[in-house]
């Protein structure tokens, strides 16, 4: 028998207080990824193998840099919560906590390194 009040249930948080938010966040970032990756794939195909001057010239345009940074944020949030589900499915006990920590650090590291690189290239450093 549920011990929660109707109000608590209506807020939709569930016992872990974050399930529906997790579900929604995964889909919001998925939608963003679809749009931003369509753009980024075209950019990467054009820039793959190009010299540094060409890459810098492309990233110098604010819209290109902004779209890339948006992609990096959306992508790393999406992959962090996606991997969190995988870890929670297969790993239990103390290892789980360690892997969840490593997961957050990995996603954050990818985000910070990539965003810094885009900013530096865009500002022409």
């Amino acid at each position: 028998m549920a011990m929660t009040t109707p109000l608590k249930r209506a807020r939709g948080l569930g016992s872990a207080h974050e399930g529906p938010g997790h579900f929604v966040k995964q889909r919001v970032t998925a939608a963003a990824n679809l749009i931003l990756f369509a753009f980024a794939l075209g950019l990467l195909v054009a820039l793959a193998g190009a010299d540094l001057a060409t890459v810098k010239a492309s990233l110098a345009h604010p819209l290109v840099a902004v779209a890339l940074i948006a992609l990096i944020v959306s992508m790393t949030v999406h992959m962090r919560i996606g991997m969190q589900v995988v870890i929670e499915d297969y790993v239990h006990g103390g290892t789980k906590a360690l892997l969840l920590l490593a997961n957050t650090f990995f996603a954050a590291a990818i985000a910070v390194v990539s965003i810094f690189a885009v900013l530096k290239l865009s500002f022409g450093g």
Partner: protein, 138 residues
């Protein structure tokens, strides 16, 4: 919380799992969706590495570009692009299912076969375009 439940005299019954079911295309595509997701997670290192190299120095950027242009590098890039396309198509499928549509068996099978066939075709098309654009094929 399986970790804190005391041992039972008789284990709780488990629902049938992978080894019980005959593989079906929708379940295989569900598994592939997760595998490509994990693959892309690791593959995000490639994008970060490429950007990091570009932001470091011209010579290091040239070195990393050279690695991507080797045969193993190209195979990894082809695999990455296929995983990205397959995972994106899988995501589109899930968006449709989230609305409650397309959940009858015929449509589920069609969408599942569609995601594997279309992902291979789109990946082939992408690399054919790259090959033509770069002059690898005449």
């Amino acid at each position: 919380m399986a970790g804190v439940t005391p041992e039972r005299a008789r284990p709780r019954p488990l629902s049938p799992h992978l080894q019980i079911y005959r593989p079906q295309i929708n379940m295989v595509m569900s598994i592939v969706h997760r595998i490509t997701g994990v693959g892309l997670y690791v593959g995000s290192l490639l994008l970060a590495w490429w950007l990091f190299a570009a932001a470091t120095s011209p010579s290091y950027f040239e070195f990393v570009n050279g690695l991507f242009a080797t045969w193993p590098g190209m195979i990894i890039l082809v695999g990455f692009s296929w995983a990205l396309i397959h995972h994106a198509l899988g995501g589109l499928r899930h968006f449709l299912w989230d609305t409650g549509a397309g959940l009858d068996i015929g449509t589920v099978d069609l969408l599942s076969w569609g995601s594997i066939v279309l992902s291979v075709l789109l990946t082939a098309g992408l690399w054919l375009y790259i090959a033509c654009e770069r002059g690898w094929v005449q």
